[in-house]
Amino acid sequence: MKVLCVHMNQTELEPIIYDAWPNSRIVNSTTWLDLPGERDNATTVNKTVVDDLFGWTKEDKTTMLDYPPVFPRYPIPFSTVLNLTGWAWGRAAIYILGQGGPAQSGEGTLTGAYPLCKLEVDITPRCSTLHSVLVSGTLAKALCDDRASNMAYSETNANATTIRGVKSWGDVGARWANSLSLGTGTTYLQQVLMTLALEPKNPNPGSFQVSLNPRLPSLAETLAVMAADTILGSLYNSPFVDHWVSP
């Protein structure tokens, strides 16, 4: 499970906020769905400042899967909006755009800071699972890289590589985000998530400084943990190899 959250400001978001486009019609949660073709075609060739971070290369003119997502409007503080689908089926990632609010500490604010998060799932061959049967239950532990020692999948399957972006997870992730109402209204969950967005110690460009909060989990960490069950729930009776073998 990979979560990438990048903070942007209002101007930087303009190219991918439909509401901010010059010729846009007024959108809200109802009209966005009703606008014929608007939501389904919600992508753009607009250039953004985070294209290279998110990998929006905009090269695939047919499926437009590597085009940036477009959100209907700016989220209000402590809320989030979603972009879950691409123009064609097969986009592996889902996107969550939110806006921070006044900081918990009372000092500084994340109002006006828009974390844009991309959730995606890879399949890695560098890990192993340690399944321990204990007296009080069982423990399944992921051991990766050095901890996997010679039990990593790649040890016996030399050709195995990391599979970037499991496309079928796009559907699962979309379902998950909708279940949690991350795209509608302002829920308590959205507020919790936006509270956990990282706050830079020094927001000035040039001497920009931010680090993980030693007293709080970060937004990306929390999203990864929350979405855990989209993976775990589907692992039962799933393949033990890195590809689907048709019966």
């Binding site: 499970m1 990979k2 990048v6 903070h7 985070v50 971070l53 799932v121 890695t124 061959p125 890990c127 192993s128 699972t129 399944h131 321990s132 049967v133 239950g137 069982t138 423990l139 399944a140 532990k141 992921a142 890289d145 039990m151 999948y153 040890e155 599979i163 079928s168 559907d171 699962v172 379902r175 279940s179 949690l180 919790v192 990282l198 706050e199 460009p205 920009f208 400084q209 931010v210 680090s211 993980l212 030693p214 989990p217 970060s218 990306a220 929390t222 943990v225 929350m226 855990a228 069950d229 993976i231 775990l232 729930g233 589907s234 692992l235 039962y236 009776n237 799933s238 393949p239 033990f240």
Partner: protein, 465 residues
Amino acid sequence: MTNDKGTRRSLNYHGTHIAAPASGSEDHFIPFEASRKQLPYHRPNTRRRHARVTNPVNSHDAKAARGGSPARNTLPTTNVAAEDTSRYARIRGYTPTITAIDAVEGTRHNNPQAARLHAFSHVYPVDEETDATLGASEDSPLSTKDDLPPGNDCPTRRDFGSPRFTWFSGAIIFTCSVSTVLSGVFVALALKGQRYGGYIGNSPEAKMNISAAILWTSIIAKTIELSFATCVVTLLGQVVSRKAIIASRSQGASLSELTLWRWVVQPGSMITSFEIGRYAGLSALGVLTLLSTILSTVYMTAATTLVQPVAKQSDWHDKVMMGSVRGEFVHATHIGRICQTPLYDLYGSCVDVENTGRSFSNLAEFLGHWRSIVTPDHNMSTRQEHRPTWIGLAYNNTYVAPQWVDVIETAEVSGTYNRVINNVSLAFPHIGVSSSVYDQRNVMPLSDTSDSIQPYSLWHRCPHL
């Protein structure tokens, strides 16, 4: 010196006997006093005698207190200087006196008490002169000299040597062989740390159940222990008998050697009868017995620990596991199929409910975990790999512990782009392998097939998400 030695030999041979005192004291009965008198020309050659005479003052004082006659002190002294007879000569000179006293030599041997009573009639005249006779006692007829083999002097009713092959010796050889072979097998099993895998267990496939295995181990261990003790005791008996009979090679067998065998059958006697150890413990036989005692005492415990099959954690060993595969990784259709609901689930509400419930549960656990480990004086690391992951309960009572991977330096990357970049990757264990534990084809130890629930671990090699 020779005097003392001779005296001890005499003691050894008879066990409890009569005889000559270790030190020259007038209070003791000296059986040869009479003979000295009867043979006026017998000239005992003893340095003791000589020494005493040269110091008459003490002798006089001592005798005076006991009413001895001082006048006799000087009687034998005249002969002392000239004495230098050989042992042989002394023995010959002595022999007739015994017959003169007791008339029947056998009486002295078989009934020393009678001999003593008889001899006591000579005691009263004894004075310090009796010391002189001690020189003669080293050549007692009771000592085990080469020319006095017990076989001749103490005739038994029948030959106590037995032929090499009898049913008894055959049984002993058989017992010792059994002991050797079985203990060899046990040593091999213990050294190898034999794994029995599925052969022993409570599962239907097992050839032997665990309690039977424990019973058989105990039976065999006890057999080894008993046969070993039997062999050792027999060996001790043989060695001691040999020592006693073949006098030309040794000095006979001591009482403590005769009782050494009690150590083996009754280890507690090492403490209660420590005298045995005092006299025989340091000999080769004593050390051998001690070793055997310790070995036979700890054998059962050692066998239980090292040989008795127990369910235990072994080293890692490879095993190919099997599991059912019914769908792709993270596929919506597959997830929908797994989700259990009694409703006709047209819109996949089951998955929605599950997503919502589990996600909030994960969130609550994760935040709760943070709250419990972050205290005013204990912060988490700002390095991603050291930060807590969520350890939550998934399915089948399984705790899930993921790991942060592909760690990026948040501060560094964010600094490069001049914006907050929070990028994490969480690797989850393939909990699908849990179901392989319950897959009957894999024959894994489960709580209902093992009499002790031992923790074990499976380390799976499979792709991860």
